[in-house]
């Protein structure tokens, strides 16, 4: 089953995609690493971030890995490059 989520891009990832946000359709049962691979397929320049990036799903951090996400329609997913606040 597929679901439509809203993806937000920040900092470097926004520069690499040329986008602040987009809606994409992905399987609702998917690992965080598979979700990242979807994003890389859409935006190949993102690949340089692979070893530094985490995702945020519904505003909670999720490292790239095998653990399954359960995505629902309208969920917010964010690409989080290395932080530099403060």
């Amino acid at each position: 089953m597929n679901t439509e989520v809203s993806v937000l891009y920040f900092a470097k990832s926004a520069e690499f995609t040329g986008l602040k946000a987009e809606n994409i359709t992905v399987p609702s049962n998917i690992s965080s690493l598979q979700l990242w691979q979807h994003l890389e397929t859409r935006h190949p320049r993102l690949s340089v971030l692979r070893d530094q990036v985490v995702l945020a799903v519904r505003q909670e951090y999720v490292p790239l890995g095998e653990q399954p996400l359960t995505l629902r329609d309208g969920d917010e997913v964010a690409v989080i490059p290395p932080l530099s606040g403060g």
Binding site: F10, A56, L83, S84, G85, G86
Partner: protein, 146 residues
């Protein structure tokens, strides 16, 4: 925790930050100590002249992570009274503050330790990004190291 929540003030703003306003907002009659940390814009990085910084945030999540930090502080230092965390977004000119943290407590060691914990944790967990703009050369998105 609901009562404490009212004492946590979190502000993300494009306006200039003020140390007096933060210190006043956390001062209270039962507190003997106010500790403040002010992060300011430096004019150099590895020999390159920085002309300004630009900050970007994932604002709703940044606020939620900042609230988590406040709640952790209240667990670790229960005597802490008021917490005010202000982070500036957008363009921040050289020497102006990008972040001000103010924490009050009846005795000084709690607010001093809590401020240190707060800025360290903020840098590690709050989704905010800083781009340095140099006099010459490409702008650079920074990464917090520590």
């Amino acid at each position: 925790m609901a009562a404490d929540g009212g004492q946590d003030l979190i502000i993300l703003t494009t306006d200039k930050l003020s140390a007096d306003s933060v210190s006043q907002s956390v001062t209270c009659p039962s507190c003997g100590a106010v500790s403040l940390f002010i992060g300011t814009t430096r004019d150099n990085f590895e020999g390159k002249k920085v002309i300004r910084l630009e900050y970007e945030a994932y604002s709703p999540m940044a606020e939620s992570e900042l609230r988590k930090i406040c709640s952790e502080i209240r667990t670790k230092w229960p005597s802490v009274r008021r917490i005010n965390i202000q982070h500036r977004l957008g363009v921040v000119p050289i020497t102006e503050a990008s972040v001000i943290i103010g924490i009050s407590s009846p005795h000084r060691s709690d607010s001093l330790e809590a401020v240190k914990y707060c800025i360290n944790t903020l840098k590690a967990t709050v989704p905010i990004w800083k781009k340095e703009i140099y006099e010459s050369g490409e702008p650079c998105w920074k990464e917090n190291k520590e």
